[in-house]
């Protein structure tokens, strides 16, 4: 048989190659070689990014099973960069006594989930979509439970896998009903058959719930905080940025491609879900003491904002969404980078522990401040631009009240972000976190993120290049 089409799915194949090389390295290299593991992983990721960056043509492969557009490359690339940053930040964590021998697994599992996301994004068929989704989530459970002898990690892993299975059960049920009422699973054939009949509505609801679980939209978000808190911090960062970003993009693709005839229905759904998500997540975030948990709720609320890009179903929304994911990635990973290095060095993760951080670790405090400001949408940081554009997109589609509610919610979110800032700069502390030096990898990652936070907004080329990719479906 002719398998030449595999050559066209470049990013995925190269990623598989990366996975395999790391796997082999893990198997073959001895304990002495472990210190080269991280440089190797990062290098390979850089290569992967390079490959992704080289312009590729749109592709329509495997009879429509796999679809590839420039916009998808952009998204995949953003996800890859996010993964690279996660790898960089994982340095201190992976050097720990109880993890050092597991770093191979960490890289392979993480990249497997990334691969799953790649396929999920490029899927042209619900089957591939589903498999990609599962590939993205099942190894994730292992990652969440990575520190398996840490009580919280284990618990988080169990919670994650159970809820994930429950949700994929419902999602599958929805898919089966879609199949039953249309007779096909190919995205290109589906719109003609979608009529919005009650069965399809129910199918859509179940499908949407399954995706909302991944994106962690209210009321499907409840696992998020627990898992984020329990998981190792790097994994949380990865989960909150890469996993979420890919799911949102995939959802948008499906909504536009498949459920186009039901646009009023899904807009209606997203409308209420966004309001609920942003508001409830913000209210929860107000009272969190644990920073990871706090960032979990913050990321839920950010997911609500992401959905603002989806709701219009427009090209502007798509661009804004991708841009938002990029910016959100920079900011959130910066925040997680700081938190994780502090957690590794001092074991402290409560808000109260951060009191007076600026006095002892001004640089880290400053980076965290920038990240939080960006998350809150304060100019001149990138978060402001991404928020503005996503509001603009939603507004353009006529969701004025929704935008307004979201805007009001930014005020609440600003409050809790400022609480952290306040802790670092203002609150007095008898025993602040002692000054320490971060490792080089973390520094690089933080510099990357900070650069992103500062530059992505002001330098318009990035947005414009995303825009130039077009609708991208």
């Amino acid at each position: 048989m002719d398998y030449s089409q595999f050559l066209h799915i470049r990013s995925e194949i190269s990623l598989i190659a990366v996975i395999m090389s790391l796997l082999l390295f893990d198997l073959l290299a001895g304990a002495r070689m472990r210190k080269y593991f991280q440089p190797l992983a990062c290098l390979l990721m850089l290569l992967q990014i390079g490959i992704n960056l080289t312009p590729g043509r749109s592709a329509y492969l495997f009879g429509g099973m796999y679809v590839h557009t420039p916009m998808m490359t952009a998204v995949k690339n953003i996800l890859t960069v996010g993964t690279l940053i996660t790898f960089l930040q994982a340095n201190t964590w992976l050097k720990r006594e109880d993890t050092v021998f597991k770093q191979g697994e960490f890289y392979v599992l993480t990249l497997s989930t990334l691969l799953g996301m790649y396929f999920m994004i490029s899927a042209g068929n619900f089957m591939l979509f589903f498999i990609g989704l599962e590939t993205a989530s099942v190894p994730m459970a292992c990652l969440v439970a990575f520190d398996k002898y840490r009580h919280h990690s284990a618990e988080a892993g169990a919670k994650y896998i159970l809820t994930a299975m429950f949700s994929s059960g419902l999602l599958l049920y929805g898919l089966s009903l879609i199949y039953g009422s249309t007779g096909t699973l190919y995205f290109e054939d589906l719109p003609d058959k979608i009529t919005g009949s009650p069965l399809q509505i129910m199918a859509f609801a179940f499908f949407f719930a399954g995706m909302a679980f991944k994106i962690s939209l209210v009321p499907f978000h409840l696992w998020t905080a627990d898992v984020y808190q329990g998981a190792p911090t790097q994994v949380t960062g990865y989960l909150s940025v890469v996993s979420k970003g890919s799911a949102v993009f995939a959802l948008m693709t499906v909504l536009i491609k498949v459920f186009a005839p039901m646009i009023s229905q899904w807009q209606h759904t997203i409308y209420w879900i966004v309001i609920a998500t942003i508001t409830i997540a913000n209210l929860f975030a107000l009272r969190q003491q644990n920073l990871k948990r706090f960032l979990a709720f913050s990321s839920i609320s950010q997911a609500g904002y992401l959905m603002l890009g989806v709701i219009g179903g427009s090209a502007a929304g798509m661009t804004a969404l991708v841009y938002y994911v990029l910016v959100y990635m920079a900011a959130n990973l910066a925040a997680f980078g700081v938190i994780s290095i502090i957690e590794q060095k001092s074991g402290k993760i409560e808000t109260a522990d951060y009191n007076g951080l600026y006095r002892t670790n001004p640089r880290l405090a400053f980076i965290l401040t920038l990240a939080l400001f960006s998350l809150a949408g304060i100019p001149p940081f990138a978060g402001f631009f991404s928020k503005f554009f996503i509001f603009m997109a939603a507004f353009q589609s006529g969701f004025h009240v929704l935008v307004f509610i979201a805007l009001i919610n930014t005020v609440i979110s600003l409050y809790y972000y400022l609480l952290i800032v306040k802790a670092m700069y203002i609150n007095p502390n008898e025993t602040p976190i002692a000054p320490f030096k971060s490792d080089g990898y973390t520094l690089i990652s933080l510099v990357l993120c900070t650069g992103g936070i500062v530059a992505i907004g002001i330098v318009s080329a990035i947005y414009q290049s995303i825009h130039a990719l077009g609708y991208g479906l």
């Binding site: 048989m1 495997f62 590939t135 129910m202």
Partner: protein
Amino acid sequence: MDFSLQTIVFLFLATVIIVCSILTVTTRKILRAATYLLFVLFSTAGIYFQINYSFLGAVQLLIYAGGITVLYVFSILLTYSQRKKGDRLKSSKVVAGLTATLAGLGLCLFITLTHPFTPSHFEFGELDIKTIGFSLMGMGKYQYVLPFEVISILLLACIIGGILIARRR
């Protein structure tokens, strides 16, 4: 509906599935639950056989009944703990769960059963294994080599993950 053999088989399978499903989730003994699950899985395979998807039935038997259930039994035995207090949550939770379930069930049944599906036409005849093979290995439309390859990665990742979690260190 005349009571042909098909009907009787179906009714039998359906009864087993329904009864055993409910027993699976209501029995107090975890091991029994696994056993009832096995019955359900068997009956499901029976349904596949009945609609002439023998390949599917075989896969079901092999993977589910043969693989997974055994896994369950082992893990149940492994985690078997002496202090049994009955496998029940507080009644309020049961009520909440039951209400949600019944509401969902009612809604789903109502919607699915009132949906005007395309007229069903069932023709006897097994699937040609060659068709299955080509479909699985082809690259065209309605052919599934790509998912097949992807799932292999998934399985690989799962193996690694499983080892990671399950091993002692």
